[in-house]
């Protein structure tokens, strides 16, 4: 057979434009590894600059794509560039940039300043980006593993720290297990359709659901295994066991990164799969989503009340947040199986602002880290208002947002979810999830009480480095701006999810 090489080269060159954001990240990740060799031990923090440049260039490429509008397919339909991808791409890049900024000083204190740290973060971001733009099972699976493998190593990055070792080991075992289950679901999806392309699979499932009705064994098997795998990645109950352990053991910036970026990426995968492939059977999965969301709210809230470790408390609180975001997905399906736009809007808005205020809460824990003190115990917050009033006020704003109290972004995000729930006739769910805010206020205000009321025995005053100042400024600005003037953010969220999926 004569291969038309000329055409193949031409096509590939054209397609490469579409993966420019990922290509930038990968190149700068490799550059970080390379430049690391030329830096002496004292200059290692320059690696963060290389990584930041990578994020900036990737962001630039993404802005160019944003300006072009519309959607495009590349690499024989295995990659789709649409507003959905661009929106999630911005979330990933923003959280990567924030985590790099808050990492520099932390890793210096831990004496683990290595180029690999920043390179792995960029590689994880490459995985996340492909996860958001993949339109093919193979791309999605490889992207998921790129992200997950980078995270396993990052979690265990403090080699001499036993907690970090243990967290990484638990993460790698449970993570690989869940990827295996997800892959099994993917193989069934391939068996249903004979193709790995999401659009072809969606058509095959539509055809099967009209022919066999609700009881189709293969569809249910695929749905069950894929949901189990994805629920694990977003840390929804009953697949949440790893989250508190990993958050507690991992270096604190990585805890923030796992809880924000990896979660957003897994939600991108979940949305992509459930809004295209599994959309024809949406009335079947929406019940499961409801159950998982309510379980996540319950278990996350109950477990958070008794925690004495801030990182563990934030882990359980993030499980609760996952519950709210999943309720947004529940509210995006009307009772007749059509799409309800407000639910998706709520999810997108929630995921976007969550990236900022949750990273903020972890960043305060990073500030408390100094020689000999890990800073993740609730008592380490004691008297923070005297030791560093600025940090205490910032923490208050982030906690208000986590609890969902105005005038913060968290309040508006939750409001959108409740609103969408009521509109789709899930009034009882809306009432139930409002009730869960009360215990949440209790456990968040235990932290506030520690900062304001209790006296500190620790004479050290936490200082905020210049890089951290930039990060805090961005985080607090988004948290407040999205709470007070949500229109702009809402328009962005609407644009990203409704155009690709609004049908």
């Amino acid at each position: 057979m004569q291969v038309p090489w000329q055409d193949v080269f031409e096509q590939t060159r054209r397609d490469f434009v579409f993966i420019l954001p990922e290509a930038m990240l990968a190149c700068f990740g490799l550059a970080t590894l390379l430049l690391d060799f030329f830096l002496t031990k004292k200059e290692k923090s320059w690696n963060s600059l290389t990584a930041m440049l990578g994020v900036a260039f990737s962001g630039g490429a993404l802005v160019l794509m944003y300006k072009m509008q519309g959607q495009a397919y590349a690499f024989s339909n295995s990659i789709i560039i649409d507003p959905f991808f661009i929106f999630f791409g911005f979330i990933f890049l923003a959280s990567t940039a924030l985590v790099i900024l808050i990492s520099v000083k932390y890793m210096e204190i831990e004496k683990e300043q290595h180029g690999e740290y920043y390179a792995l973060m960029l590689f994880a971001t490459v995985g996340m980006m492909f996860l958001a733009c993949g339109n093919d099972l193979i791309v999605l699976f490889v992207a998921l593993e790129t992200m997950a493998l980078s995270f396993y190593v990052l979690t265990g990055f403090l080699r001499r720290d036993r907690k970090s070792n243990e967290a990484a080991l638990k993460y790698v075992l449970l993570g690989a297990f869940s990827s295996g289950i997800l892959a099994y679901g993917f193989s069934i999806l391939y068996g249903i359709s004979g193709s790995t392309n999401l659009i072809v699979i969606a058509n095959a499932i539509t055809e099967r659901s009209t022919r066999y009705g609700h009881g189709d064994v293969l569809t249910i098997l695929a749905l069950g295994t894929v949901s189990a795998g994805v629920f694990f990645k977003i840390a929804a109950v009953p697949f949440h066991q790893w989250a508190p352990d990993v958050y507690e053991g991992a270096p604190t910036p990585i805890s923030a990164y796992v809880s924000v970026a990896s979660k957003a990426a897994s939600f991108a995968l979940l949305l992509r799969l459930f809004l295209t492939v599994f959309w024809p059977v949406n009335l079947d999965w929406v019940v499961v989503m409801e159950a998982v969301a309510v379980l996540s709210l319950t278990v996350g809230t109950l477990a958070a009340i008794t925690q004495s470790n801030i990182k563990r408390l934030l882990a359980y609180s993030s499980i609760t947040q996952v519950g709210y975001i999943l309720l947004g997905l529940v509210a995006s399906v009307n009772s007749d199986g059509t799409l309800h736009e407000r639910g998706l809007q709520a999810m997108a808005f929630y995921l976007f602002v969550y990236a900022f205020f949750n990273t903020g809460a972890f960043a305060i824990v990073i500030l408390l880290r100094h020689k000999g003190v890990i800073g993740d115990d609730v008592d380490d917050l004691n008297g923070l208002i005297q030791r560093n009033p600025g940090a205490a006020v910032l923490m208050l704003i982030f906690l208000l947002s986590l609890a969902g109290i105005p005038p913060t972004a968290g309040f508006f995000a939750k409001l959108l979810v409740f609103w969408a729930l009521i509109e789709t006739g899930h009034t009882y769910l809306a009432v139930l999830s409002v009730l869960y805010i009360l215990p949440a206020v209790y456990y968040y205000f235990r932290l506030v009480a520690a900062m304001w009321v209790k006296e500190s025995t620790d004479p050290v005053r936490p200082v905020i480095s210049l890089a951290q100042k930039f990060a805090f400024a961005a985080m607090v600005m988004v948290t407040l701006a999205a709470g007070i003037f949500p229109e702009q953010f809402l328009r962005f969220a609407t644009y990203s999810l409704l155009i690709p999926f609004g049908r």
Binding site: Y152, E166, G180, F186, Y190, T196, P244
Partner: protein, 100 residues
């Protein structure tokens, strides 16, 4: 020719053995091996379907999964090594610094 559902039952059996292994074994190396079993069940599925449909997509996917299994084993064993150096144990129920 062997019909495709024989392969599917084989793969389901392997998958189940893998899941049971992960959930019941104490030694982390054996847990890692059980995960490889799950991935191999996926591969059998993919290759069987690929043969049934007469296209190679499934086989390409299987090659990617084999590659991924290798990467996972490398990272997993590296982390296990770091863990063993500090703790001198490989038993899952002795990983108790962080509450499960």
């Amino acid at each position: 020719m062997v019909p495709v559902d024989h392969y599917l039952w084989l793969s389901l059996a392997l998958f189940t053995i893998g899941v049971i292994g992960v959930l019941t074994r104490r030694n982390v190396i054996i847990i890692l091996m059980s995960i490889e079993l799950i991935l191999n069940a996926v591969n059998i599925n993919l290759v069987a379907f690929s043969h049934m449909f007469g296209n190679v997509d499934g086989q390409v996917f299987a090659i990617f999964i084999i590659t991924d299994a290798a990467a996972e084993a490398a990272v997993g064993l590296g982390i296990i090594l770091a863990f063993f150096r500090n703790r001198e144990t490989l038993l899952a129920d002795e990983m108790d610094m962080l509450k499960w």
